[in-house]
């Protein structure tokens, strides 16, 4: 690092030639202010770090506080009831749970094999000079804003789905397919890292038994990286659960539970996005916030599981060394 070298160089120079001039400027007040300045600085950074913890707790609290009316009125039945009727003030979140589950399931079903396929290609097949740029491009998919995916969804994907036989074009399947494209980069980038962390000795053991490259991957590499890959899937799931814009633009926004994936549906994030500004009375708002609270809780759990799984592969590699 050129910049750090020059600073160390300056310090070296200062030490040798300008002990008083340069060193004393920075050391000013060091005799009396040494402990005070340090303590102040530590406290300052600590305060900001603490604010992050406080903020997280505040968010959880606010979500709870603003959904008490709905929690009180509907209790656990909120999640079993499929009636979402703002007119008669009867709220049940089941259609949104259903829609969220279906779209996420479709998205994972499509993106897992494809994402894993790309990861295997990048880790086991492609030479480094090809693997790194492609990995970068795949990550670029993750950088595209959700609303732009929605734009492509409405004007490209929906007509395609309609021409393939979906009567409405919009629907849970369409949303699932769009989501799949959005979460592939998460599966690929984490899986690729995890696969690359598998020790070379494992690959050689398989090859030395007379395995083909694919057999080596299947027998020695994938099982070793198994928990990390599952972690990647969980992480992608967490993203899919909270995805709002792209989904709401192509799912049809109908709060009904239908068996056919070609039917329109609704997700938790989408209903909040669409109806929040139309919620004219407190119970309505509380019901929507309760949906948000539930979404909050679920994504925390899924994310935590994901991190645990991914960390466990890192530990396995360490222990082995």
């Amino acid at each position: 690092m050129a910049k750090t070298k020059s600073i160390a160089g300056i310090l070296g120079e200062a030490r040798r030639h300008l002990p008083r001039a340069f060193g004393s400027i920075l050391a000013q007040g060091s005799k009396t202010g040494l402990r005070f300045g340090d303590r102040l600085f530590r406290r300052l950074t600590l305060a900001f770090a603490f604010s992050i913890v406080a903020l997280t707790l505040l968010i959880a609290y606010e979500l709870y506080r603003n959904s008490v009316l709905s929690i009180g009125k509907f209790g656990w039945g909120f999640f079993w009831s499929s009636t979402w009727d703002p007119v008669f003030q009867n709220f049940g979140a089941l259609p949104f749970l259903y829609g969220t589950l279906v779209t996420s399931f479709v998205a994972l079903a499509i993106s897992t094999p494809v994402g894993l396929g790309v990861a295997i290609f990048l880790s086991e097949l492609a030479p480094r000079w090809l693997s790194d740029p492609i990995a970068f491009l795949v990550e670029l998919l993750a950088a595209i804003p959700s609303v732009l995916y929605g734009l492509i969804g409405i004007f490209v994907l929906v007509p395609i789905m309609r021409s393939l036989g979906a009567p409405y074009g919009v629907g849970m399947l369409t949303a699932g397919v769009l989501l799949a494209v959005m979460i592939v980069p998460f599966i690929t980038s984490i899986s690729r890292e995890v696969l690359m962390a598998v020790p070379q000795a494992q690959r050689e053991a398989a090859l030395s038994l007379g395995a083909t490259k694919w057999e080596m991957t299947w027998m020695a590499v994938l099982p070793y990286a198994r928990s990390g890959i599952v972690g990647a899937i969980f992480l992608a799931l967490a993203r899919a659960l909270g995805e709002t814009m792209a989904v709401t633009m192509v799912i049809g926004n109908r709060p009904e539970i239908k068996l056919s994936f070609l039917e329109p549906g609704y997700t938790m994030a989408a209903v909040i996005a669409n109806e929040f500004t139309e919620a004219t009375y407190d119970l309505y708002i509380n019901a929507l916030v309760e949906v948000g609270l539930f979404l909050f809780a679920v994504t925390i759990v899924v994310n935590a599981l994901a991190r645990l799984l991914i960390l466990s592969v890192a530990k396995k590699v360490e222990v082995r060394e």
Binding site: P127, R128, P199, A201, Q202, R203, E204, A205, A206, L207, S208, L209, G210, A211, T212, E215, M219, A220, P223, Y224, R226, K316, R320
Partner: protein
């Protein structure tokens, strides 16, 4: 070598890592049913040499090989040769034991056989038992076959790797410093094993431990800076070496 049947014939073998040449023009014959040791100081090319024998060297990016390796007269580097099939016939045991952690002991040993499509439970079990017995591990693990492959000590794991390699019935078993990560007792067990194993499989062992080479092998090849300096019956190499470099290495003047 007079009176011994040669199994592997290495002819003018050269090997590179990118621009760096690790093996220089080596010609050598490995006799059947014997143990051949390959010794030499660090970096002399001995590991690279044996990795060329089972076509593992080319797995490394930018690795290159030229020359011939004839197994029963067939050139393993010939135009129709398939590395995958070569590795079936020439097995390998590595420096650090590398059993598959997600497979049981049974499945580890059976792994190579399953690759060839053998599914029958009875055939597999018989082969597993036979290989574990050949690796002198059967008595210790016969009641724990369903435990993960990484259970037990390093020495036992290494014998598991030997059993795994033997299960596919290779013609040659390459051993790359198999005892360097093990304690003396485990080492002694494996050296004992090698004496037994050579009755069924030809062994080529790389070692940096000269006493081990002297104890275990019938023939020894001394490599220095990628070249074959001397190759002869082990007794002769260690008592009356013909080349000065060999003598210097044996007596510890360098390496």
């Amino acid at each position: 070598m007079n009176g011994t049947d040669s199994l592997l014939e290495i002819e003018s073998l050269n090997a590179w890592f990118g621009e760096v040449q690790a093996v220089r023009d080596i010609t050598l014959t490995i006799p059947r049913g014997r143990v051949t040791a390959i010794i030499g100081p660090s970096g002399c090319g001995k590991t690279t040499l044996i990795r060329c024998l089972n076509r593992m060297h080319e797995v490394v990016p930018r690795a290159r090989v030229s020359g011939k390796v004839l197994l029963e007269g067939e050139d393993l580097y010939g135009p129709t040769a398939d590395p995958v099939l070569v590795r079936r016939r020439i097995g390998m045991v590595f420096q650090k034991p590398n059993p598959f952690p997600t497979l049981t002991i049974y499945d580890n040993v059976a792994a190579g056989l399953r690759l060839t499509g053998i599914r029958d439970r009875r055939t597999l079990s018989e082969a597993v038992e036979k290989s574990l017995k050949m690796a002198a591990l059967w008595e210790e693990v016969k009641d724990s076959l369903t435990k993960p492959g990484t259970s037990f000590s390093g020495g036992q794991q290494q014998r598991l790797c030997i059993a795994r390699a033997l299960a596919v019935e290779p013609e040659v078993l390459l051993m790359d410093e198999p005892c360097s990560a093990l304690d003396p007792i485990a080492t002694a067990k494996i050296e004992e094993l090698i004496h037994e194993l050579k009755k069924t499989v030809t062994i080529v062992i790389v070692t940096h431990n000269m006493q081990q080479a002297a104890r275990v092998s019938d023939f020894t090849a001394f490599l220095y800076l990628g070249r074959l300096v001397e190759y002869d019956v082990t007794d002769k190499i260690f008592t009356t070496p013909a080349k000065k470099e060999t003598e210097d290495y044996i007596t510890g003047r360098f390496g």
